[in-house]
Amino acid sequence: MTDEHGDEGQATQADRETALEADSARVPTGSNRTNKVLFTAVAVMLVGVLAVLLLLTYVAISNLKAPRTAAERNVYAFQAAVEQNPLSDKAWAGYVAALIDSGQYATARSVAKEAEDILGETGMRTLVQSALLMHAQADSQESIELLDEVLKAALKEKKAYIEDLREKQIEPVAIPASEVIIEAAIAKGDIHMELEQWDLAIDAYTIALEEKPTMSDVLVARGNAHTAAGRDDEALTDYEEALIYAPEYAPAHQGIEALDGGGSGD
């Protein structure tokens, strides 16, 4: 019986080993399983990338060109203005300003460069915006230096204009205000305010007000600088003068209220 059973046991053992090998062949090893998971993950990632590419195509096709904010609209409007009148310093300046407002600094830089190439020395308003761009990108000192150059050039130009009139023995009723001087001076004043350089801000705003004394917003800005510098009397004078030209101007009223409420403490 033993031999018979022994023969039967060996046959059964062989069958079992065969079955085990077949099972092992069907069940993947750990390494194979990992590869399959990885392969699945790669396939999913590929689908994801394709989906994003499709989204990009959809977004490009849809009316992304339509402005979605006031800043974007201004960019388009001034872009069109520049295309219609490429020699307009005002249009280029507006374009650069709109790009700065919308945070597109790199594009603003390249547009400013393009304007400089086209306009040359006549592009002073665009240079003012270039200076503001520098300040937006944390180059305040360079910005102020550029504005000083613009102011110097603009004042020189105005002086030459007045002398030319005198040589021709023309006494004009009034000398027109220089928009370049006003814009450059206000920009300089605003930068000094941000840097908390109150006296320099006051000087800059004063240059602008010498060109055009009726600007209520600049009077208030100078008043705010006086308040910050501790000169309440001068601040009050500026706020009250601002209200002469614009009686409902809220920032002027707010400035006076702030002085009544304590002001700078002096």
Partner: protein
């Protein structure tokens, strides 16, 4: 167990190499996906969005709609009114160009209502100033230039029209159309048959001086912005005057309107009135005879500010308002506090954002993770069964008693 042979060693090396390659590819694709998603996000996020510090308190800016392209001709010009259509479509009047433009809730341009050249012929528009959309999607347009109310389908199909003298505003209810005029208002069937007219021009309580705002309440009460008389009035469905706000009584702390124009009703049943000269949304409580609740908005050209806003409508499914910000040549989508929040509206609002497009890759990734986890568990379970079978077999082999003892 599979016996380790020389043949399995090259297989292991090959598997390991494949694993490394797949891992590297996976990392590269992941980084590429992140980069592309960031790029899409940058594209979808408009530059110059107002931040919370610039937004008036209590008012949330969602988006501005300027038109369908970059040129002046493709943008709105002094839109006077706006209304919500089916699926949240935003219809905005572009009166000076004799057309109505339609936009999806995410701000993309979808369609146009126009009858061709301006003129007096049937279905032609001249100066479409006011708009409302019925429940079944018909667009009712009050055209001051043609002195008519003209009805279009949302597919730009002319349906019908009828004459109305000096129409300023239109509101559509379940079974009636109320048209505000210079002199009062007219009530019509949906087909334009006149039911009644009420009011004459003047300053008395039962008179009007320009009804530029009209709202039909759920109970049939009709509310009017009596514009140049600077007051809000309520009438019952039979045309009887219910109340006037402000009453003008001395000593009362009532809100003073500068120029009430367009109005609507929010999800909480409050009247929301635009004051064009105050540049604000004024909220009134009709249950308290129009008592003042709150005011939201500031004057300005930045997004979230208004200059002479004249038309407004409310989308209950998304809990937001569209304001025809006339002088700024745009329509703005805004929300105000207490207008009827619920989770459903919030979800629908989120789905209305262009950023919903970025959800697809994320959904695919979640599905892939779910599949991977399920397969991993299935494999683990199969391995456990195999190990159990092996243990049984190994145990009988070592012992050797089973076969021998038989």
């Amino acid at each position: 167990m599979v016996p380790v042979t020389d043949q399995t060693q090259p297989d292991d090396v090959r598997n390991k190499r494949i694993r490394v390659i797949l891992s590297v590819v996976l990392v590269i694709l992941f980084l590429l996906l992140i980069g592309l998603s960031y790029f899409v996000l940058r594209l979808l996020t408009p530059s110059g969005e107002p931040d919370s510090a610039d937004t008036p308190e209590g008012l949330t800016w969602v988006r501005s709609i300027y038109g369908y392209g970059p040129s002046i001709q493709e943008q709105l010009l002094g839109p006077n009114d706006a209304g919500f259509g089916s699926g949240g479509t935003i219809w905005v009047t572009d009166g000076q160009r004799a057309r109505i433009l339609g936009f999806a809730p995410d701000g993309t341009y979808t369609s146009i209502i126009t009858a061709g050249p301006e003129g007096e012929g049937p279905g032609q528009l001249y100066r479409p100033d006011a708009i409302d959309v019925s429940e079944d999607g018909e667009i009712y347009i009050a055209d001051y230039g043609t002195q008519r109310v003209t009805v279009f389908s949302e597919d730009n199909e002319f349906l019908r029209e009828w004459p109305v003298p000096s129409p300023l505003e239109v509101a559509v209810g379940e079974d009636r159309v109320v048209v505000g005029t210079l002199y009062g208002f007219g009530v019509y069937t949906l087909d334009g048959e006149l039911i009644t007219t009420i009011g004459t021009r003047g300053k008395a309580d039962d008179e009007f001086d320009g009804a530029r705002g009209v709202v039909i309440g759920e109970d049939g009460t009709i509310y009017f912005a009596d514009t140049h008389n600077k007051r809000i009035k309520a009438y019952d469905p039979n045309g009887e005057l219910l109340w006037i706000y402000p009453t003008g009584a001395e000593g009362d702390d009532e809100h003073v309107f500068q120029l009430p124009v367009g109005m609507t009703m929010d999800g909480n049943g409050r009247l929301v009135v635009l004051d064009a000269f105050d540049f604000q949304l004024i909220v009134l409580d009709p249950e308290q005879q129009g008592a003042f609740v709150a005011a939201y908005g500031d004057e300005g050209t930045d997004d979230a500010q208004f200059i002479y806003p004249t038309g407004i409508d409310y989308d209950a499914s998304r809990d937001w308002f569209v304001v025809a910000d006339t002088r700024n040549d745009r329509a703005q989508i805004v929300r105000i506090e207490g207008s009827g929040d619920d989770i459903g509206a919030a979800l629908l609002r989120a789905w209305s954002s262009p950023l919903r497009l970025c959800a697809l890759p994320l959904i695919l990734l979640l599905i892939a993770i779910a599949i991977a986890v399920t397969r991993s568990r299935a494999n683990r379970s199969r391995k456990n069964e195999q190990n159990t079978a092996e243990d049984v077999l190994l145990g009988s082999q070592d012992d050797g008693t089973f076969a021998q003892n038989e």
